[in-house]
């Protein structure tokens, strides 16, 4: 069913998860991608999320260099970030084309001045960003923080609980998009497409912790046209990355 689509999974992670005992090794991730015919995955090390972004980014980069199907995601914890714009320029120059933020896991507020500072420093680089906006209020906070951000912003972990909020933000801000791994509501993809267009939806699975099969079949079984499915499953994220 998925063979005819060129699929890019925008939400994967590898390494040891501190609170979920599970094989999240890079070998497992690649094997899951193979099983579901995923051509490429955006990924990062758990070290960068749960321990420290400097070390984590280095691991991510190294792993991505050894696996050409992995697109490295850089991350920064604003709570522990005291750098300057030039530091972010260095990270980008190392080969990162997208940054991702984890306010829930790292326990910081999206509306915080420290995250605002990171965004201010990232803006001149025009790199796309992804960030988790899973809790009520978070998509709205993102909307306020990125209203002048000059590159795509992908809201991740959006479930039914915050879908209407995310949609309201997307309606206001054309650079805001949504990632799918927490979306399992029948008809949600069709509704988002009807409101803001299929080019604003990015397929992600949360693999290897979450099931690629579940996320993928949710998209494949939707009523979107094949053209729109292709946009969601890979075309949109490809376009974003190629523009960097």
């Amino acid at each position: 069913m998925s063979a005819s689509f060129q699929i890019i999974d925008a939400d994967t992670m590898f390494g040891v998860h501190p609170t979920h005992r599970l094989d999240m090794s890079i070998e497992r991730l690649i094997s899951e991608m193979d099983k579901h015919k995923i051509a490429a995955g955006l990924s990062l090390s758990t070290i960068g999320v749960f321990h420290g972004y400097i070390r984590g980014n280095a691991i991510t980069l190294e792993v991505a260099k050894a696996n050409n199907r992995l697109v490295p995601i850089a991350t920064i914890d604003p709570k522990g970030y005291f750098g300057a714009a030039s530091d972010l320029q260095v990270i980008k120059a190392q080969g990162f084309r997208i940054f991702k933020f984890y306010p829930d896991e790292q326990e910081w507020e999206i509306a915080s001045a420290s995250f605002g500072e990171v965004l201010k420093q990232l803006a001149p680089l025009k790199v796309p960003i992804m960030l988790d906006a899973a809790r009520p209020g978070e998509p709205s906070d993102v909307g306020r923080m990125v209203s002048n951000y000059p590159a795509p912003v992908v809201l991740c972990s959006v479930s039914l609980e915050v879908l209407s909020e995310a949609l309201a933000v997307m309606a206001d801000l054309p650079n805001v998009m949504v990632e799918t791994h927490e979306l399992h509501v029948p008809g949600a993809l069709e509704m988002i497409t009807g409101r803001v267009g299929a080019d604003r939806i990015i397929f992600g699975s949360g693999a290897p912790r979450c099931s690629i099969a579940s996320s993928l079949h949710y998209v494949l079984n939707s009523e979107l046209s094949d053209e729109d499915k292709q946009r969601v499953l890979g075309g949109n994220i490809r376009r974003i990355l190629e523009a960097v």
Binding site: L160, H184, V185, P186, G187
Partner: protein, 250 residues
């Protein structure tokens, strides 16, 4: 063919579109689901008497549909009265517990009176368990009422591993909706046995496509998958028994 044991019956779906029985049946057709066991969202969220009554009207006229009788521990006498009239009907193969009275999730203290009255029906109870504390509380009920079979609805949500701690509690069963963790189905089948895991989707809040893909992409055997997707529900709910002239009123 599959049996979906967790379908929410509501007039509108999660996106505010018309749903109702037509929406349920349309989804069943799309995913080749033979039978669905419905619960009334009105009954869960607000008026259990109204919701149960509406649901009975829906399920009584369609061979593919069955319902849970929602009982409310804040109204034990009314709940027990309703059980008397509904639980003899094969269209209500189980009762369902969703909220507590003193705690926000079902627990033995709040449901003891209802459970004492329920024992005579020899039917299972579906208990909503969306987190670890709710799993613990459901298992406590199962320990105090060992002759009743308890289905842990949503399998503990993101805390689904908590249920694995209780694999020796033989009167608990697991319903698959709640989370999409990749190893959930294999782990549950290995820990409790595939005969104690039942497919549920949480339609229309979740698309059956997602949970069906999780089950069908798991590494459980074909035999185990058949059990999870339908055989267990058929046996547990007695859905393979022929319709009789039992009391069909609520």
């Amino acid at each position: 063919m599959a049996i979906d044991i967790r379908v929410n019956f509501c007039q509108f779906d999660a996106l505010g579109r018309q749903f109702g029985a037509d929406g349920v049946l349309k989804s069943m057709q799309k995913y080749n689901i033979e039978t669905a066991v419905l619960l009334s969202s009105v009954a869960v969220n607000c008026d259990f008497a109204l919701g149960n009554k509406e649901l009975f009207e829906v399920v009584k006229s369609d061979d593919r549909l069955f319902g849970y009788l929602i009982v409310n521990p804040n109204y034990p006498e009314e709940s027990i009265r309703m059980m008397r009239s509904a639980m003899n009907s094969r269209k209500f193969p189980a009762a369902a517990f969703f909220q507590g009275a003193t705690r926000p999730y079902p627990n033995v203290d709040d449901y003891r009176e209802i459970l004492n009255a329920y024992r005579r029906y020899t039917k299972p109870v579906y208990v909503e368990t969306t987190h670890a504390e709710a799993v613990d509380a459901a298992v406590q009920m199962a320990r105090e009422f060992p002759t009743i079979k308890f289905i842990l609805g949503s399998m503990g949500g993101g805390d689904w591993k908590r249920a694995m701690n209780y694999n020796k509690q033989l009167n608990i069963f697991l319903e698959t909706s709640g989370s999409f963790d990749v190893e959930k189905i294999e782990t549950a089948a290995a820990s409790l046995g595939a005969h104690r895991v039942l497919f549920g989707s949480n339609l229309p809040y979740a698309d059956p496509a997602s949970i069906l893909a999780l089950i069908q992409s798991s590494s459980v055997s074909q035999d185990a998958m058949s059990k999870i997707l339908g055989e267990n529900a058929k046996r547990l709910f007695g859905l393979d028994r022929p319709a009789t002239v039992e009391g069909e009123e609520t």
